[in-house]
């Protein structure tokens, strides 16, 4: 049943997404590609939409995927699935076992999880950047989309320049707005 599938798929995401939204993206990617709920392309669009709308990115993605698969009920099932583990774990830690996280064995597990999540996020970033540059779009040469690769380079440079000039990181929303404008210009002409 689709509601249960959505609920359990996102329950798994909620259980294993360490390190905030970006830790969840590889898991959500696994889940939606395995179930055929979204393709890589639509998932990428949706990540951008989730970044540009308020609220937790994971909740945004869960609601969207649930809603496109099974309407309101699907959205509710997926959202409930993704928030339930965090809710339960925090209650457990605050109410029952206040010292859970100080336990040496729990610490040892976390010590292994953090670098693993960093590696997984990094791999996903490489994968998504490569697939955006290699997309067989117009202007394709040897499978490399010169336009997309150009935009990627331009954005990296823009982010670096911004950082040098204003001494802080460019905000995700601003980077998305700049990239949208660049896309309209480069692919429009």
């Amino acid at each position: 049943m689709i509601y249960l599938n959505l609920f359990f798929a996102f329950l798994k995401v909620g259980c294993f997404s360490f390190g905030g939204a970006y830790g969840a993206i590889p898991l959500i990617r696994d889940a939606v590609l395995a179930h055929g709920w979204l393709d890589q392309e639509s998932l990428t669009y949706m990540i951008a939409v989730s970044e540009s709308t308020p609220g937790p990115i994971m909740v945004n993605l869960a609601t969207y995927i649930g809603s496109t698969q099974a309407g309101f009920g699907g959205a509710a099932a997926a959202t409930l699935g993704v928030i339930l583990p965090a809710f339960a774990i925090i209650l457990f830690i605050t109410v029952i076992l206040k010292r859970t996280l100080e336990n040496r064995y729990v610490q040892a597990i976390l010590m292994g999880l953090k670098p693993c999540v960093a590696g997984i996020i990094f791999a996903t970033g490489i994968q998504m950047t490569a697939s955006s540059c290699l997309a067989p779009a117009e202007g394709t040469a040897m499978g490399l989309s010169l336009k997309s690769a150009g935009i990627t380079l331009f954005l990296v440079m823009a982010a670096v320049v911004y950082r040098r000039t204003f001494r802080k990181k460019i905000s995700p929303v601003m980077l998305i707005v700049i990239s949208a404008a660049a896309g309209m210009i480069v692919f429009g002409i």
Partner: protein, 192 residues
């Protein structure tokens, strides 16, 4: 104690509605409302929950809302604070999901999204970079990091039937085993 529940719900609804950029941006907004203005929790509580949120899975906003809600008004408080912070995004995204497909058919929008694809890749790479910078750096964590990176790339390229979750389980197991062995050894060393 229960009088505070509507206020708790509304406050977190507002936090959910006006915070862009996910969890880390939300922590400072929650601090502003719940510590400075409403005085529901102390500054120390807030530092604590930020650390806990980093080490537990799930959306950081949910971790914070559940904790603050519980501290302020018990179990019911945690339910309503969590609902409050989730509902705005749920409603907004649900509405967007009904129109997005038609919206993507417009040529200008398709072109814009071709550019946005590049930005999303960069954002994820950047998140990976900062996690790498902030992780505890020992020989073991570096090895785990490189293995997970290469492993995940191989899984994706060859479409192996493995998920990122299996990589995480393996990393946790390796780290735990290493710790136990190291612990036993140092105890034996202590006896001598």
């Amino acid at each position: 104690m229960f009088d505070v529940i509507p206020e708790l719900f509304l406050t977190f609804f507002r936090i959910g509605l006006f915070t862009f950029g996910g969890g880390y941006a939300m922590i400072s907004v929650i601090e502003d409302y719940c510590v400075e203005k409403k005085k529901w929790i102390s500054h120390d509580d807030m530092v604590n929950i930020a650390v806990i949120a980093e080490s537990t899975p799930g959306p950081i906003a949910i971790n914070c809302a559940t904790f603050t809600g519980y501290k302020t008004a018990g179990l019911l408080g945690s339910v309503f604070a969590t609902l409050g912070v989730v509902l705005p995004s749920f409603i907004i995204i649900f509405i967007i999901s009904m129109f997005l497909d038609n919206f993507l058919d417009i040529t200008v929008v398709t072109n814009a999204f071709m550019g946005i694809k590049a930005a999303v890749g960069i954002l994820i790479l950047n998140a990976g970079f900062s996690m790498m910078k902030n992780m505890p750096k020992t020989v073991l964590t570096k090895i785990i990091m490189v293995c997970s990176l290469v492993g995940m790339l191989l899984i994706n390229i060859f479409s192996w039937n493995l998920s990122s979750i299996s990589l995480m389980m393996a990393a946790a197991a390796v780290s735990l085993a290493y710790f136990i062995v190291w612990d036993l050894r140092s105890k034996e060393g202590g006896k001598k």
